[in-house]
């Protein structure tokens, strides 16, 4: 029974997802253009250096902000701590590129900060005294404040499972609050924090919108530029190869660092529910201020800047086909979530019932789509389709298939699928790991068919995991930019593409309206589902 239809469907799914990776790797040895020579002598080092600086700085900021806030809200009670618990995730609703627009709008010469100062203190040239958050620093801030929630959510979940015994241990040893945080709490939450940081790392290396807006040359924009402006796909693929290598080594490092230590969550004996410590006076105030500042900078600031612009330039509100944008965005979200969930369920189940080594390896490889920047994925996809069409389909005498894949909803969703497959696959996998294989065996003994076991037993068990995955995918797709930009059909815009297009035409105030809607819709998603994101217990 090892090679049944389940096996073949999961095999096929893994293969589709692997296409772009294979495309990137196979073109590694092709000839590059002159551009490569020029670039090698001038900017290649800069690309690598910038990517590295960006990565390290973002990791630092997201670590400090994410674990700091997670620690405060999980261990202490202070004014607003219940509110911050979920409000801090709202920063997810602001993609880095919208954060970048806000930073520029506020701090540029004659920007919002200038207006505020002028209204407060009268006419003067304040421009010289207003700091400029552009370039690399602007990009670091934009990405950090948008992504720290990954670290926050995972660190918080891990802190919640720390037993009171652990904290008592610190107390008995006479540790200060800081020392027990540093020596006990942080190390035992390490796998969760590292998992959060590796998500941040991948998103940072893949980041396109904000980095492009501040025109910073990173490996990702370098790939894009060498493809767009120098027609040098081979070189673009070669940089991609280095980027992938970079990302894979991050994976491996993370795995290695994890293997050295064993981490247990004691759910039965020895677990003592933690009592939150109530903070008073100065400590309570400091905790409140820290959380509030982070909440303000990461969420309220971009929200108000976009809101202010919408009011200041209301004509942009009336010019926009908001209903169309809303339905297009929703359409992509629903379609992609359905496709991702269904196929990830099939491949997970296929893996489970066929228990085949090759398949396991293949599906582990296939989840690396998430590590490939969207812009590269889109390029690799177009390259592959064009090659396939020119060299195979046409040779066989069939009509071109390009239109089916390029500039169609089908192609768009297919590439979303490749990009976000790992989110769905891993989410369901971790749900499946909690269902003991003996449950399946008992079901078979009771005369259940494979399909019935799947529908009547697995699906109900997986319901919560599925919901969580749908939220993650939805948020990703609402914010997604490069794939949508490159592959969408005629007359098809989303809030994200409209904001990007306006911003790239120096019409930042027109970008405010779609940005505002994007933030509001994403916030709405987050608020209605925050209890799943923040679930206190893993059943």
């Amino acid at each position: 029974m090892k090679f049944n239809s389940w096996f073949f469907s999961s095999f096929l799914i893994s293969c589709i997802v692997l296409i772009p990776i294979i495309t990137v790797f196979t073109s590694f040895f092709e000839n590059t253009s002159n551009y490569y020579e020029i670039l090698k002598n001038t900017f290649l080092i800069e690309y690598i250096f910038n990517s590295f600086i960006l990565l390290i700085s973002v990791l630092f900021f997201t670590f400090v902000i994410g674990t700091g806030t997670a620690y405060l809200v999980s261990f202490y009670k202070f004014p607003g701590s219940e509110f911050f618990k979920w409000a801090l995730i709202l920063s997810f609703a602001v993609p880095p590129y919208i954060y970048a627009y806000s930073l520029t709008a506020f701090f540029e010469n004659y920007g919002t900060a200038f207006t505020i100062l002028k209204n407060l203190f009268g006419e003067a040239n304040y421009n010289k005294n207003i700091p400029k958050f552009d370039g690399m620093f602007g990009a670091i801030l934009s990405i950090s404040f948008s992504l720290y929630a990954y670290v926050y959510i995972l660190a918080r979940a891990s802190f919640l499972y720390q037993s009171q015994n652990l904290i008592d241990l610190g107390k008995n040893l006479g540790f200060s609050k800081f020392k027990s945080f540093n020596k006990i709490i942080l190390p035992s939450a390490r796998p969760a924090i590292v998992a959060g940081l590796s998500l941040v790392a991948m998103e940072t290396l893949a980041e396109f919108g904000a980095v492009d807006f501040f025109s910073i040359n990173t490996l990702t924009t370098g790939i894009y530029n060498s493809w767009i402006y120098f027609d040098d796909l081979a070189f673009a693929n070669r940089i991609s190869f280095f980027l992938l290598l970079f990302i894979f080594s991050l994976f491996i490092l993370e795995n290695l660092s994890r293997r050295k230590a064993k981490y247990h969550f004691n759910s039965k004996g020895g677990f003592k529910k933690k009592e939150k410590i109530k903070l008073f006076g100065g400590e309570a105030l400091s905790a409140f201020i820290f959380c509030f500042i982070i909440f303000f900078i990461s969420f309220l600031f971009p929200l108000s800047q976009m809101f202010y612009w919408t009011i200041k330039f209301p004509e942009n509100l009336f010019d926009l086909q908001i209903k169309d944008l809303f339905f297009n965005t929703l359409y992509l979200v629903i379609l992609s979530s359905l496709v991702l969930i269904i196929f990830s369920l099939i491949s997970n189940y296929g893996n489970r019932v066929s228990n085949n080594k090759t398949l396991n390896i293949l599906s582990t490889l296939s989840i690396s789509g998430y590590a490939i920047p969207g812009v590269i994925l889109a390029i690799a996809f177009i390259t592959f389709i064009a090659w396939f069409d020119n060299s195979i389909i046409k040779l066989l005498g069939f009509d071109s298939i390009k239109k089916i894949f390029i500039g169609s909803i089908f192609g768009l969703v297919l590439v979303y699928f490749i990009r976000f497959y790992s989110l769905a696959f891993n989410g369901i996998k971790s749900g499946y790991e909690k269902i003991n294989i003996s449950v399946d065996e008992s079901a078979y003994l009771l005369g259940y068919s494979k399909r019935k076991t799947f529908m009547n037993i697995h699906i109900p068990f997986l319901r919560n995991s599925l919901l969580f995955i749908v939220i993650l995918i939805s948020l990703e797709i609402i914010r997604e930019l490069p794939i949508t930009l490159i592959l969408r059909p005629f007359n098809f815009e989303t809030f994200a593409t409209t904001a990007y297009i306006s911003a790239s035409e120096d019409l930042l105030e027109a970008a405010a309206v779609p940005s505002l809607f994007l933030i509001l819709i994403a916030s709405f998603f987050i608020i209605i589902t925050s209890k799943y994101i923040l679930r206190e217990t893993y059943e």
Binding site: I38, T42, F43, T104, E108, N109, Y110, G111, F114, K118, N125, N127, K128, D134, G135, F214, S215, N225, W227, I228, Y229, F230, K312, D319, Y331, L335, L338, V339, I379, I382, T383, I385, A386, D389, N390, S400, K402, K403, I406, G407, S408, I409, F410, V413, L485, I486, P489, F490, N491, F492, E493, T497, I501, S502, S504, E505, D506, L507, E509, A510
Partner: protein
């Protein structure tokens, strides 16, 4: 059954509305509100639906090239002659924009048979009248931007910007590659800051005192003066003045927004109709009053904001063929990159 119905749902979600036959497909890298207003007007007049795919020029070009002969693109509209020229040199365009209406409307140096200019802009120098004297500017040229007297006083965009590429391409055409390479090094040495921001940000840097001169396109100042960017920027715009370089020789560098006819265009006749429509006096007036560009055709006046603040009587460079911008594009990038122009 449930599984089947879910699949049916997915498939039905994929099926989009059937194509309307009478249409024209535009790959559009110009995203002004004024343009979409014109497209609706065109549809109302002719019944031809204008399908748009918006994006930055580079990505749109790549899609046209990847789709090859199967591309659905009829017209490619972008705000830089260099991009139209580059598409031409890659063999992705076809001749056909040769109707009498087009030929009568557009001067020869602003069109080929594959692409035509639809609105003009000049890339000029902005200066602070407080810190720059008339004597310093007298006889100023683009070549003069490399003069050491501007050390630490000049702001200009990044080298990746298409307007800069076309400007540098025109310099290569007129002065040669070696001279332009030396020029680029001089410009980089004069920069008041590492290039950042768009054209408007360069003008504001002069207004705010970060630099004394800036290079930017003409319509940005008018846009700021119009108040469409808010009261602060309107005030800021009044602190800078426009200067048209190279008045004593070939004239000021001109660029165009251009419409190019894509090879294999499925709706070629409609595409030509749309271009002709964009060149009518009414459409040209719509451009000048909303995007503050210069009209492509005679008999239409630029917006009063442009006329009053930038002046109309300047010598345009009619000698350098716009087609050379595309041809020298790669050399321009090479020259700027080698000079360390970020």
């Amino acid at each position: 059954m449930r599984k089947i119905s879910i699949f049916a749902l997915i498939i039905s979600l994929f099926i989009s509305t059937l194509a309307i036959a009478n249409e024209v497909n535009v790959f559009n890298a110009r995203h002004y509100k004024a343009d979409s207003e014109l497209y609706s007007k065109f549809t109302n007049m002719t019944g031809i639906k204008v399908n748009l795919i918006n994006g930055k020029s580079g990505a749109l070009e790549k899609r046209i090239i990847s789709e090859g002969a199967d591309s659905s693109a009829d017209l490619y509209i972008t705000a830089d002659a260099g991009r139209c020229g580059a598409m031409d040199s890659k063999g992705t365009l076809q001749g056909g924009l040769t109707s009498p209406a087009i030929k009568a409307a557009v001067p020869k140096s602003f069109r080929t048979n594959k692409w035509v200019g639809i609105a003009k802009r000049a890339r000029i120098i902005y200066y602070s009248p407080e810190r720059v004297t008339g004597a310093e500017l007298s006889g100023m040229t683009y070549e003069g931007l490399a003069d050491p007297k501007w050390k630490g006083r000049l702001v200009i965009r990044k080298s990746s910007n298409i307007y800069n590429k076309s400007l540098v391409a025109s310099l290569i055409k007129n002065n040669g590659k070696a001279a332009t390479a030396a020029w680029a090094e001089g410009v980089v040495a004069n920069m008041a800051r590492t290039p950042t921001g768009n054209d408007r940000a360069q003008i504001m840097a002069v207004a705010a005192g970060e630099a004394d001169i800036a290079v930017a396109n003409t319509y940005y100042l008018a846009l700021m003066l119009s108040g469409k960017k808010g009261a602060e920027q309107q005030e800021a715009a009044k602190k800078v003045k426009a200067f048209f370089p190279n008045q004593n020789d070939r004239g000021t560098h001109m660029n165009v927004s251009c419409a190019a006819l894509v090879k294999g265009a499925p709706n070629k006749a409609n595409a030509v109709k749309l271009v002709e429509f964009l060149l009518t006096p009414a459409s040209q007036e719509h451009f000048t009053n909303n995007t503050f560009e210069f009209p492509m055709i005679d008999g239409v006046s630029p917006s009063p904001l442009v006329v009053n603040n930038l002046g109309l009587d300047f010598k345009q460079d009619m000698k350098t063929k716009l087609a050379s911008y595309g041809k020298n594009q790669a050399a321009a990038v090479e020259v700027m990159t080698a000079a360390g122009w970020k």
